[in-house]
Symmetry: C2
Subunit: 161 residues, 2 copies
């Protein structure tokens, strides 16, 4: 063989090798892409199922905490039926404290109503003549609440004219 | 050029073309794999954030429904302080009905205690001599509840010896 023929053969061999290597790389990439896609699809399906479960579980926990409140209300009701006034009053106090504590633990907080009317957290139902600073809250008709940083219900108030 | 040389050149050209095509394919696959992976990562991050929000929202809805219960309990408490017994009793009935309805809407249901003791839904606190069928429930000390198909709290009962 002449050197030239040898060179051509070596070059050809190199090209064939590169071709083979590329084909392998391509096949591996196709595999990887399919695997990642399949994992993604699985994850998406699992997520949808998880969401359902998560909502049920979140509510389940809160519902479970409310059972003693329901129990004590039932007991207060029985005391009322038997006209055991002291027991009834004690029961109502207990239930009120229980429910307030449960909701507080959930992040519920009363909206402040001291001072100036704030349209973000107050709802003015009435304006009345008053000796107080005009525009200040003079009476709370219904307490307002926030949960975390969200206003769950504005405080319904009367403001000074 | 001889035919042979021409053939070799055509073959070489074909190989170069195939190599080029494979390289393009490989590059596109790398792009696709990277894109799918990035989408997957984003989805995963978004999902974690969504879960937090979902739990808060699920609880927020229930907490919001409980606000009127808290209001009416506060009113009942005020009636108790003023010794307005009729109003207090009325208030307790109202609150009890409200809370029971809210929890029922969440899927809460009382566990049946009629008939034979069922260890899946009942908890026997005592066994007492009785004229009833041995092993039957003769008294309920604390009501049991299920939420959907899950036992939230077994009914605590006394069974006949």
């Amino acid at each position: 063989m002449t050197d030239e023929v040898e060179n051509v053969e070596t070059e050809e061999q190199a090209e064939v090798d590169e071709l083979e290597a590329l084909k392998r790389e391509r096949d591996e990439l196709v595999d990887t892409a399919q695997r990642v896609q399949a994992e993604f699809d699985n994850f998406r399906r699992r997520t949808a199922r998880d969401r359902q479960e998560l909502v049920s579980l979140a509510n389940e926990r809160l519902v479970k905490e409310l059972l003693p409140v329901l129990d004590d209300l039932t007991r207060a009701l029985q005391a009322a039926e038997k006209h055991e006034e002291a027991k009834l009053e004690e029961g109502v106090k207990l239930v009120h404290r229980q429910l307030a504590q449960i909701l507080e633990k959930e992040g519920l907080a009363e909206i402040e109503t001291e001072g100036v009317f704030d349209p973000h957290v107050h709802e003015a139902l009435l304006a009345q003549p008053s000796e107080a600073e005009p525009g200040s809250v003079i009476e709370v008709l219904q307490k307002g609440y926030r949960l975390g940083d969200r206003v769950l219900r504005p405080a319904r108030v009367i403001v000074a004219e």
